[in-house]
Symmetry: C2
Subunit: 445 residues, 2 copies
């Protein structure tokens, strides 16, 4: 396959390149460095976050190249000096990346991604790393709560129209990873292999002289197993018309407005009375995790969720940051921790390793230690895995593996921690600082 | 220039294509139709919205073509029938689009975009239209409030890392349209011609043995007119070091943490005392319209705004919808209004025209009437303009024109309506329904 993907190199803040320029000039650009991605806190009320976007990010890094078009623009715009342009022309990320598996649960301070390489090669990817992980993790974190709230019922992602047209594709992927069954977004079907679905909108009914004509046209095109949208005029009448046109083999009805719980109950009674006991009921219309939870007793089979899932349901970005935590004082030197001081933006220096501690099979703490410290004692599982080694990508996960990882991580957190009411973070993050372990000849290599 | 942009055709909900399939099959696909884009309401507390994305949308429509790759995927996925695939192969939007100029203010119900053509050609672009306008208008609407709150001080958009990597580019454009001076996002510079800026992050300071070495390296690369980030360790010490290294010709200092008002006052005093009276102070760090307003008395020269602007400051989508409002019963027939009934999702049928009514130069109402009704009396200005006529794009605005349009529209609303405290919508929307005017032979033609 010919590689024709456009470069992702300019999806970058200008200061990454001005820092690069200055660092190459004074020689520090080649110093081994470690950057970590973590969230200082979770959005208010959230008990856990879900890592998502890792697979997309690693794909985008392959296309992080400075081709002639990009270099020409940077030159014209005067962003960096000539020697830096020459360095960028040969750029290919040659460092290593490890991180939490996609779909893993994270807590405040979890080192969800660790990038090590030279300062120069690692600093320039900051913006891309954060854009991808912040967006996708925000959507997956919201979607996971919706999956819990839906209590086993099927969820479809219908929100692409409420998001930037490319963010929509990534949002569909993140929702699927978190347990949604499919998406309305066709590009997400093509790009990521997601199941796509959808039948008709109110416009299709309004195009016809009456609902019966619209339903007949849809059934003629898509068969009686289709989903008919029955709330354009009067939902009860729409249901009767749907049954009259499609018969009791009608696949599903969708109700998109009104008191959805009451409408679903009326619809179920009417369908059952007519013998359409297998006709499913799909509800949509401004649903979020809270309204899904409130529909628990309604006879719904599936939900379409739009705006709330693609916008992270009140938390549209995950707040992940990318911070230099260690660097050597010369190429090949020993790695020393570095940290910003003071206030709520202070950082913890040193490359870190992370484990989830369990007791009786339940997660009880996120344990974060210096990278070179020995593993904590007791029942712990390591959270980081190699993703890129010396510029070579490790065999990627598929989305199914990420779904499974999330299911297992949530089961381990337990239903008290994953249930819907907002609350404190599910488990504490324990920073175990072992000063002896922090000067690390390996961390930067 | 060779046209190599990828197709935008699959950035679309599946139901647009299944509706198309059914409508082509029963002949209604060729019926003249009118769709309108409007917001049912504004986000809570918002007094006006800002239309943005129109230019991006019209560019993306050019690339809304079903090429062999797209058709092959649709065929494999079984989305539509063979005759519909053949129809899509020849697809090119050949209808007409009119709408509010980019940068115009909108209110609840404002018909910000009107798409007329056959049902088939107009229905398939729904998702793309909404994705672009919902995202960009959400960002511009938030950004405009920030510009007001900044009271004439310079605003930079630094939020790309908190948004999907492509949404970041569009967000930079929308913020610029609303009055931001520039962006950190390089792709926004290349794609949209925006001014880009940025110098260094805390990582650059931490890479060096001390702040003085980092500042010296930056000044060597970028000159003394650069902006030095002074809050990595101790802001007062950082300021003294910056002056010692760069001298009193230092362009600016940036402070990214702490009590920004207090830090700015201390910095101004220290800079002035040292004779660096022209050195500017840039503040950043979790700023939004409310914290900007609170900084009014602080001696800041410019602000960097990140998360809040790219996520629409609490309203990440504009809530615009795309509704069929009129269609003919046969090709060439008279256009009849159609509307969904009932509840909070009811629509108003009929193609509409919109004016802003003014009194003493101030906007007093949004007046919306049937398209064929005569203009309202008094001092009104029309809000809709042709954007695409029979498939041909009208000469597009540049972003400067959109900026100017927004400035004029906000001045017309007046400072009471655009001032920061949340409140009711700035002016009422008056629907003037003239039943005589609603059957319109021209509206669908």
């Amino acid at each position: 396959m010919t590689h024709t993907a456009p470069s992702t190199a300019l999806l970058t803040d200008r200061y990454e390149l001005t820092m690069l320029d200055a660092a190459l000039r004074d020689g520090r650009g080649e110093h081994p460095s470690v950057f970590e991605v973590f969230a200082r806190r979770l959005p208010a009320g959230r008990r856990y976050g879900v890592v998502a976007g890792t697979g997309r990010l690693l794909d985008a890094l392959v296309d992080f190249r400075f081709d002639d078009d990009v270099l020409g623009w940077l030159d014209d715009a005067g962003v960096v000096s000539e020697p830096t342009l020459a360095w960028l022309a040969g750029y290919r990320f040659g460092g290593s990346i490890s991180g939490y598996g996609e779909g893993e649960v994270y807590l405040p301070g979890s080192p969800v991604l660790t990038v090590h390489g030279t300062f120069a090669e690692a600093v320039v990817v900051e913006t891309l790393v954060l854009s991808v992980l912040n967006h996708d993790s925000a959507v997956a974190s919201a979607a996971a709560r919706m999956v819990t709230a839906a209590g086993g019922r099927t969820l479809f992602e219908f929100g692409g129209r409420r998001a930037h047209e490319q963010a929509a594709v990534a949002a569909a992927r993140a929702a699927y990873l978190a347990g949604f069954t499919g998406t309305s977004n066709l590009e997400a079907g093509r790009r990521h292999g997601l199941p796509t679905l959808g039948t008709s909108a109110h416009a299709f009914t309004l195009l016809h002289d009456d609902e019966a004509a619209a339903f007949a046209a849809q059934v003629a095109a898509l068969g009686p197993g289709t989903t008919l949208l029955v709330d354009t005029y009067d939902t009860e009448q729409g249901l009767r018309t749907a049954l009259r046109v499609a018969g009791t083999d009608l696949g599903a009805v969708r109700i998109d407005s009104g008191d959805l719980a009451a409408e679903a109950r009326r619809a179920r009674a009417l369908l059952d009375e007519a013998g359409a006991t297998r006709t499913r009921i799909v509800l949509s219309g401004d649903l979020d995790e809270h309204s899904l939870a409130a529909l628990a007793d309604a006879p719904a089979d599936a939900y379409g969720v739009g705006t709330s899932v693609v916008t992270g349901s009140g938390a549209p970005t995950a707040g992940l940051v990318y911070k230099l935590v260690a660097r050597a004082e010369r190429p090949g030197g020993i790695c020393r921790p570095v940290a910003k001081a003071g206030g709520d933006k202070a950082t913890r220096g040193g490359r870190k390793a992370a484990w989830r501690r369990r007791r009786d099979g339940r997660a009880v703490a996120e344990v974060i230690r210096p990278f070179t410290a020995p593993p904590p004692s007791g029942d712990v599982r390591p959270l980081q895995r190699p993703l890129v080694v010396d510029g070579e990508r490790v065999e990627p996960d598929d989305l199914g593996a990420a779904q499974e990882r999330l299911r297992a991580a949530l089961a381990e957190l337990g239903s008290d921690a994953t249930a819907l009411p907002d609350g404190p973070v599910a488990i504490p993050t324990e920073f175990d600082d072992d000063p002896e372990a922090r000067l690390d000849p390996k961390a930067c290599s």
